[in-house]
Every structure is written in C-alpha cells, then in structure tokens.
Symmetry: C4
Subunit: 254 residues, 4 copies
C-alpha cells in the first residue's frame, strides 16, 4: 500500500490560507483546541489521511460503526478582509514511529505548499509537572521577526523554554516548513501533563483567536474543564473521607 | 525479497464470496473459530502468504518437518442458493509490526477485491479480565445498516464496546475494506483473555453460522474446551491440596 | 545504500555444492561448529556480506585494526567423488530485526540458487536450561524423506522438538529454501544456553562430518571446551570456599 | 520525503581534504572536540543534513527561534603546505535506528568520496565507568600502517581495546570508508561516561592537532571543564554537609 493515502472529498480553492495543526499530545491541549475551533467555526472536512504510520486499528463509535484511524483536513473560508482562510489538521493519533512522524509531516507540508499556505500555527501542551492555575501560553517560531510580531498578543517567548525542543508534529511541521520557506509558530499551553486539559486549550485559543482575528464561544471547553475539575474534586473528597475514616478507625482501636 | 509473497496453488472462480478472517489474537478466539470452520466445511487451500512482516522462523511439525510461518487462504463453494461462497484467511501469526499489519491487511483486501468479495467477517476475542460463564458475542460493523441487519442474529452491538477500538487484522481488514467500499463486521467472543478459549470460539461460530446459513458440528471445539477446563480444574485441585497440606503441616508444627 | 552489499573476491565454479550455515545463536553452537569446519577444511573466502540489517559497528582486532561487521562466504572443493563441494555462511552477527533476518536469508538463498546449491545444512544450539553431559543432536528437515535419510547418522528427530519452531537464520534458510524447492536440514546441539558451548558444537560436527563424509580433527574445540570447563570449575571452587569461609566465620561467632 | 536531504549553501573546492567527525556519544567527547575545533579554526558551514533517521523534533534557541534537528558540514582551508584541508561533520544527534545509522554514514562517505577525501578521523569517548584524572587517548584504525604511523603522536593502540568494537557513526564511517578504500582512525578519549566531559575532549584534541599540524587555544574547553568540576564539587559539598548535619542531629538525639 502507499505509505500515506490522502483521500479528497473536495478540492477547495483557498485565498492565502494558514495551516493550523492540533493533534494528540501532552494534555491533549493541541487536539482539544483545534477540534474546538473546527466546531465553533463550522469548518468543512475536505480530505482524510490514512497511513501505515498510524496505529493498526479502527475506532468504534457509539453506534458500533467502525472507521480506520486517520488524520483529517478541514477548511474555513474567512468572511472578513482582515482574516485568513484556515486549513485545519486534526486527528486520532500522531505517527507512531519517528520515521512515520517525518513522512506524515512532510506530506502535510507538501499539501500545504500546493494550497498556497505561507503561515503555520501548531498547537500543543507544555507539561510542567504540577497543577497550573493560570496557564501561560508559550511560543516558539521559525523566525525572530515572528517572535517580535506575536509577542504583543500575550504569547510568551521565554528564553530557554522548552529546553528540550518541540517533539512530534507540532515541531516537525515548523521545522520542515522552514526548510521550504514557510514560516510558523507553535503555541504551547502550560499544563500539568497528568490529564486531558481543556483549560490549557482555552488559554491557547484565547491568544490564537486574537492572532487570527476570529470570534468564538468557549462554553463547551469550559464545560469539559468543569467536568474534569469536578471529577478531581470528587476523587480528592473520597481520599479525604477515607483518610478521616482511617483515623476514626484508628481512634476506635486506641 | 518482495515484502509479501502470495503463492497460488490454484485460482478458484467464486460467486460473490465473503471473506472470513480468523488469525491469532486475544484468547486465540478468532483463530480457533476460523480453523474449526475450515475443518468442518472441508474448505480447500488455494494460496499461501509468506512475508518478512511475519516472525523470522519456521514451524516444526510432529514428523520434524519444517515450513516457513505463513498465512493461508482457503475457499469453500456454497451448495445452496441462499449461501455465499467463502474465502478464509487463517494462519500462524499476525504481522509483527504496525506497518506490517497494514501491508498484510491491504494485500488481502486487494486480493479480496479482485475475487469479487463484497462482505468481510473478522473474528476475534474480547478480553474482559475475568472468567466468563456464558460469553456474549459483541459486534461492530462498517455501516449502521449492517449493525441493524445483524442485531437479529444475537450479535450484541453494545454502546461504547470496545472502547479502545479493534486492533490488528480484525480491525484493519474492516477499516481498509471500508475505504474501498467493502462492508464488514467483526464478531468478538467474550473471553477472560488469560488462556486459549474454545468456548468463546464456539459462541462466535454459533452466531456466525446463522448469519452464513451453514450447519456444522462443534464436537472438536467442545472437546478442546473440556480438556482446558479439566486442566484448570486439576491445577485448582493441586492448589487446594497444597494449601490443605500446608495447613496440616502447620497444625502438626502447632 | 543498498540494504545488502555482497562483495566478491572471486567467483568459484562449484560442482553441486551444499550450503552450510553457522551464525551466532544459542550457546554459539552453530558459529563454533561452522568456524571450526572452515578452519579444519582450510576453506577459501570468496565473498563478504555487508548490510544495514547488521549492527552499526566495527570490530577491532588485536592489532587495533577495524573492520565493518559482516557475514562471510567460504567455499571448499571436495577431493573425493563421494563428497560434495561446500559453501559456508559464517559471520559476526545475524540480522538485528525480523525484516532484516528475512532479507539476509533471502539474499543468501538467491546466491545459493545461482551457485547450484540443492541441499542446505544449518547448525544451531537447542537450549534446554540445564547443564548437558552428553548432548544429543536434534534434527528437523524440509521433507520427510530427509528425516528418514538422516536418522541413520545418529541425528535425532524427536516428536515435538523444538516445539517453539526454529527462529533466525537456521530456520529461515530452510523455510525460504523450501519455497524455492531446495531441501535442507537443521542440526541442533543440546546446550544449557547459559554460555558458549564448544562441546555441543563438537557433537553437532561429529554427526555432520559423517553426513558430509569428511574427516577433521577436534583438538581446538576440545581445548576451548576444556578452558570453559576449567573456568566453571574455578568459579565453583571460589563459591565453595566462600561458603566454607562463611560457615567458619559463623562458627566463630557461635 | 527523501530519507536524507543534503542542502548545500555552497560547494567548496578543496585540496585533498580529510574528513573529521564529532557527533554526540559517550561523554559527548567527540562532539565537544569537533565543535571546539570548528570554532577555533573558524570553519565555514557549507551544507546541512536533514533526515527522517534523526529524532522528529526541532531545537529552540535562546531567542525562541526553532530549527529542525540536523547534522552540519563545515570546511576549513589550510594555510600551510604541510596541512590538509578539513571537512567537519558535526550535529545535534546521531541516527536513532541501526538502519538510519548506516544510511547517514553511507551518505557522508559518498559525499566525502566526491570531495576527494582520502583520510577520515572520527572522535569519541571511551567509557571506563570511573572518574579519570589523566585521560588516555585510545586509537583504532583501518590499516596496520596507520596504527604504526599514529603511534608516535601519543595515540595509544591498546591490544583488545575497545573489546566491544566501536558502535555508531565513529565506527561506521571507518568501516564503510574502508570498503571504499578510504583509510581512517578513531580517537577515543577516556571518560567516566557519567557526564559530559570537556577534559577528555581536550585530551583528544591535543593529539589530533599534532596529527593535523594545526594550533588552537583550549580556553573555552578548559572553562567548560572547570564549570563542570565546580558543579561536581558543590554537589559533593552539599552531600558532605547533609551527612554532617545528619550526624549532629543524631548526636542531639543521642
């Protein structure tokens, strides 16, 4: 089989589009943010990417209907002159081997080049190993001019962060794009890294939407974040109760 | 070498056949079921698949004769107008890398397409981590119409099962087939997942044979199941005796 | 680079040769046996196999001179009408991935076919997990006629051994050869599997040389075996002394 | 994508150049040494190597600007008739799979051949598992004549070192070069292997510069070594203080 199969359902003709990537990763921050933006902007799916570099499995939906794991491409046409058309790259998984990561990213860069993309935004999480109350959004870019341009939107370009570089699709799309002369930026929401983090995704989107000059609602992300916080609170309560109960039992013994 | 080598011993001309897969997996349920059906229907082998995606080893039979590990294709010609011809995919192993899984599944889908297959059945086990008395048979399908069609045969389409998707050949054949317009269903027999489970294979076959409208005996599967139950019973008894002996010894000491 | 590079120093024209493989494996039995036979018969090297499927490293010899890891091909021309010419496959390593194992074995089979080989002997160890005093030599073959033919040489064809099949080059060369119509046999010397075992290699050679109708000395293998036995004996003695010393010390305390 | 992409910024015409490799490895000795020599000789970058065999990530610099991980090629033109022009191979990473190691090394060898290289020097560390006061520099070469030639520069060719061979780029470039008729030497600085070791890199360079007949300063390497020693000293002091504090606390309890 072809290592990467791109199935087009249509070939949209876009005007100077930007590419926006949000695939699974740390805290699923990038995926949550990009999926939310696709929903809110009512973007249209135009292509599906299948690949032997993705896991060998099917997803089963609530109706017991299966589909092969994939990455999907959506587009959104801007309605205002100051906005850009957007191509979205979202999906179930990233490539599962280093070589597969490169191949998938390069296939997307080549597709983006053909469609006239000259700016890439990649979204991700930045794991800091502890609960974050007010997540910052860190940035890194392919050129110093973009660092300067985007600093004014609240994106923090912090010396030496992330020290370990940016691994996976969010990094490769920028790196490979740069070798082809396409500039780009990664927006990384601070997150503990221990669980799926819609609050970090919201923080990322609040800056990204200012850059893209689009307006969206956040209610669904806020709801997801509340659910997760409630879940954590209930776990914590259970824990406290079992500790209390434990002390009472011990008292009784005493 | 060619990554996948298909050696044909004959090229059967079949009438609207279905493809039926049963390769090793959880509880070996799919393999046991498919091998049993091949035996009972006296299906005829027509091709052998060798591949560098299978383990690098030979199987040694009881006469000390070796053969390269493989997957095999059998066919069965229906004798009644209401039955379909069947192509069986059985074998020693599944592909041992994710990429190999994709390549092998795609090779089979392409072969199935050429032979006019328009329905795929894949068989497997659904590990639930505890001993099952009356295994249910869960289903998942490529289209909602098939879910409705097959529900009446006792196949259970359970919301959210399996949540983790279907991994390996049983999933990929459906997923890749769907991208080519071939519909299919996976039948998964509940099993502990701790040992080879002929009882789950029997449960799968009891529903599958109704769907395929074929009649078979189950004695060999029942015998295998009884052997395995006896083996478990004897282990349990040994365990109990050693516990009893242990307590007696302790009493003696006391 | 080409995945497999075969460098010929000469192209010997052989008469109906057999292929004999002895690469590293369990107890290094196959490698010890084949290397010893190459030495004793004064076989001539005619080709070197380099490959990206071998480990990425060089070997450093006693003079600090490096060479890339490889597999080597030697030939020996028979001097008696009842003997066969022999092609030897020996080397530093086997392929380090399953796919590499297949590719390397297939490259050798194709070379063997071109050189007119119609019989393959592969040598290996059969790990039994305990020290063996009189190692048996187990066999497996590509055809029942060879099993019968070779049983008379003392090679034991034991029902169900090895139950797990034969993994690696010794298995693949037989399995792939069989798909090309070349028959072959694996000779496996029983060994603990815990250390390099020249005694098992000698047992394998004593049967193999009868089959091949060649005469060789075993002194170098016996010397190696004695060295290893002495080494084990000294370890055992150290262990006993430290246990004795331990008891004395304990007595002293008592 | 092409597995290996070499981007040239210029095509220098060199006179009989040597190739000098220093990539990350044990104690980063080779990388530290080669990077230092590039800096001191003010070598000029002429090509960048990108590859799917390198990790799928970007490096983020202090200005938050990203670049794809790579290997780089520099050249230095000799100013004296007794010196050789030099091509440097330096970079962020080595290939991350065995096959990738072979492919990258072969790509460099082919490039070196085209540029007229007839001598290769590879630099590395030799881990000995304990702190080294006066690191020796061990050598290995593709030919006994080079062993003899270089012994007079203080390079130690020690029988049986390294017994395990030389793994990775430093080994492969010599091994693959040798198959193409290019001679070479590996210089290995003794190092504990527990941390980055500029002192071992300095030892390697002191011999290498004698061989290459170039003069350089070592201040930056010495500074790095001092920093690392200070860091170790401070850790040791902390440790001692906490032990002392521990004993005082224990005294107090007593």
């Amino acid at each position: 089989m072809e290592p990467i199969i791109i199935k087009y359902s249509m070939h949209p003709d876009l005007d100077n589009p930007v590419l926006l990537e949000g695939l699974p990763g740390v805290g699923n921050v990038g995926k949550l943010a990009a999926d939310h933006l696709v929903d809110e902007l009512k973007a249209t799916k135009f292509a599906t990417i299948y690949s032997r570099f993705l896991p060998p499995q099917v997803i089963v939906d609530d109706d017991s209907v299966v589909r092969l794991v994939d990455n999907s491409l959506y587009f959104w046409r801007s309605s205002k002159p100051w906005q850009h058309d957007i191509i979205f790259l979202v999906g179930d998984f990233q490539g599962i081997t280093p070589e597969g990561q490169y191949e998938l990213a390069m296939a997307v860069i080549e597709l983006a080049e053909e469609m006239g993309v000259n700016r890439i935004y990649t979204l991700g999480g930045y794991g800091i190993g502890k609960i974050v109350q007010e997540p910052r959004v860190l940035g890194a870019a392919t050129d110093i001019s973009i660092v300067e341009e985007l600093s004014e939107y609240g994106l923090e370009f912090s010396r030496g962060d992330p020290g370990s570089g940016i691994v996976g699709a969010s990094g490769l799309l920028l790196g490979l794009g740069k070798t082809r002369g396409i500039n780009g930026t990664c927006l990384m929401g601070e997150t503990s890294g221990y669980f799926v983090d819609p609050a970090a995704a919201k923080a990322v989107l609040q800056i990204l939407t200012k850059i893209l000059k689009v307006d969206i609602e956040y209610q669904k992300l806020v709801d997801k974040a509340t659910q997760i916080e409630d879940f954590h609170a209930s776990i914590l309560k259970d824990l406290e109760q079992s500790v209390e109960k434990g002390s009472k039992d011990l008292n009784y013994i005493g």
